[in-house]
Symmetry: C2
Subunit: 504 residues, 2 copies
Amino acid sequence: MTPQDAYKELKERLHEIAILGSCEAVLGWEERTYMPRGGAKLRSEQVSLLAGMLHERFTDPKIGELIAAVEGTDIVADADSIDAANIRELRHDYDKETKLPKELVEEKAKVTSLAQGEWVTARAKRDFKLFLPWLEKVVAIAKREAECFGYEGEPYNALLDRYEPGAKTEEVAGVFAELRKDLVELNKKIQNAPKKPDESIIERTYKADLQAIFGEMVASAQGFDFNQGRLDVTTHPFCSGFGPGDTRITTRYNPHRLNDALFGIMHECGHALYEMGIPKEGNFGMPISESTSLGIHESQSRMWENQVGRSKDFWVYFFPQLQRIFRSAVGDVSLDDFYGAINCVKPSYIRVEADEATYNLHIMLRFELERALMKGEIKPADIAGEWNKRFKEYFGIEVDHDANGCLQDVHWSAGLIGYFPTYALGNLYSAQFFAKAKADIPGLHEQFQRGDLSGLLKWLRTNIHQHGRRYRAKDLVVKVTGEKLSHKPLMDYMTKKYSEIYGI
Amino acid sequence: MTPQDAYKELKERLHEIAILGSCEAVLGWEERTYMPRGGAKLRSEQVSLLAGMLHERFTDPKIGELIAAVEGTDIVADADSIDAANIRELRHDYDKETKLPKELVEEKAKVTSLAQGEWVTARAKRDFKLFLPWLEKVVAIAKREAECFGYEGEPYNALLDRYEPGAKTEEVAGVFAELRKDLVELNKKIQNAPKKPDESIIERTYKADLQAIFGEMVASAQGFDFNQGRLDVTTHPFCSGFGPGDTRITTRYNPHRLNDALFGIMHECGHALYEMGIPKEGNFGMPISESTSLGIHESQSRMWENQVGRSKDFWVYFFPQLQRIFRSAVGDVSLDDFYGAINCVKPSYIRVEADEATYNLHIMLRFELERALMKGEIKPADIAGEWNKRFKEYFGIEVDHDANGCLQDVHWSAGLIGYFPTYALGNLYSAQFFAKAKADIPGLHEQFQRGDLSGLLKWLRTNIHQHGRRYRAKDLVVKVTGEKLSHKPLMDYMTKKYSEIYGI
């Protein structure tokens, strides 16, 4: 078999795996949007059958042989080429998926399935001790996984690499440390600011069906093509790119809080535009048709949500539209007051409800604890105490109970150690990319003020989306912005914004 | 391998095939309910991948070996047992699916895919000649299929057996002939009747969202459990039983015609109640967890639509409910006038719009032509002429153009020869079953008049649903009613009903 034939067969096999994976995506979307309660058992059988088939097909030794048959040949001679990226990333993924012994995969599936139930109970009872035995199991499994994957430096690298391929814990920790210092400082200033925006504006009555109309208008302006996707309602919002031509986003409407669905839609739409923007023709199933990393994915959602959606320029155009739709809620509100209301900063216990200025502190706290757990510097039993200590230090408030502390997120019970940092990386990338986009696009402010967001989307398509997984995240950042990842663009952006809003 | 082991493995394999098939069902449902236009290409790849996998798994020679390893053993010694039915029907299906050579299956897929496009064009241009070359190909393929399947008597038996296992063309034709004679007579009387109901009542304004509310109320009364299913909107209504715990129905709302969605929902709900009522526990994927035949399936939908939904007893309870919701449309209408309006008889060209009294004439016309085609008594080129001649004879009106004649239905372009008779069989079964249910259930009329439909559902569960595919349709009819299939119960029911409405 020639390397060309091997590469061709590899592509065909991965295309079929991708189609099968997209079937699973449809089932998962439908489960969360429309499925009646009674369908749960059947759906779990459907999804686990497909998941098993997907795993079996991708870890088939033949896949390993085909990758090996292309490695080192002319096909991948140019390390910067699409083909080289395909083979490099396939090797990465194949090794990740095949290095775990079957019994460990099965044990993890069993433990996390039970742990999630126990986590729900522990959270309801606000008692970390109930969850501790399960956290111990999950951490022990994560340690074994890290050993199976292998790593340079510390074990956390092996876990982080699943979600942010090629990222190094120490580098991430370095950027986070600088960010934390500045953020704690900024938040103190905000707490003591003379000026306070009036958040109650966004807590007036906003009828759900009208929020949906406004949300679709904004998503369309972002560039979401409703012929190639849909917006539906779910309890936990998400974006799912089924494949070429079909990308779904979801949201939930709170008629007494405008922010949730509005910025939720802009956020998921950011993910969707990335999915829609990665060229897939002839490569569906190959890494080049996929996103760079979870962090880069999050940079797209956060940029649209925050740098665009929470900017004053954006609302110069969209606030009058909003007023037309919600006249009784905001007819008498000024643009400045509205802008202040959507940008209110308030330290709070719950990550998913956090504002821009405190959000990353939530993430860094989790990252530090995960890293220390994996190094063995702390034990699972120390988690509640360590959490509360750090929370007081970063946020200036005491955690009142574990459900508002270390029990709030589903991730650990689901075995997702190494995932959290990608949220903060996304925020860092987004600010650094957006600063470059502003520099590159003349008149971007004015475009936003006219409601024209197409210039930004075009820039993202050209500079980020078109590359798929061609570059690793940290290299992409350098390629796009000319600089290594830094906390400065994010701090500059926030400092400028909050100085104006809070008069600090 | 013991017969017990073989049977166990067979069940496991078929269970997995059924789960995979249910994935395809979800994709098919989503395609017709929510999928955006742009998703069509991906969806067709998904569905054809799953269809291919399903075919491959079911026609695996190992399945044949396992069936053979159980046949003739103690497991199937009692011919009336569930296990014997499972093996009998699996043999039937396995032979059907494996007897066709791959090249014929592929050729049919290609021809029918093209033929459906050509049919759309020909219908739009109202020109049978454009479709003729494709009908010739489809008929030639059907003849080859019949030869592959093998048959006793005439070739049409081999095709009919796909949809109505065990049915014999000659027997069906015998019942149809008697029905046709009586129906033509009845319709003539109705045309010349002194009394005419006022159909315009159902053509007033009925807002779609209120129709949906009323429709869900009726479906709930029928016994449809909305925790185990949904009602959605599609262009072409259907029912899809995904599997245990999840059965979907769809409809379409015409705000200027009440009948379509109302009786459409009752019809699809009848299919759904059958799907929901067949015991699947421990047998999902085995024939015993499936429906008897398309004809029996249709008997369930038609019974709820016609014997229940178009009865006066039903409306004694539901008409006041309808009046509360649609006060301006029917607030001033009497029950009798409403009952007349929903039961109007009017010969018309289009089968899917036909009333109860003319519907079966449409079916018999198709059945006769298909049968003659397969026997070689007529050629595809004769179809338009033969159609129009018979139409005039049965309906008393001239076909004005081919789109109102032989080009109206999708079935032939899709290669579904042998399917049509199941529609009329469904009507015959439904009347025969319903007559027995009335005799068996004391006070059924009064139950309906109180809006209580549970007595009928219980009877259907006990007498029909619980058996799944245990009996062949014609045996089930005898088992349930004590009589062979006859046109009499249907004619008795219609004669009584229309005598009253039309004063004949």
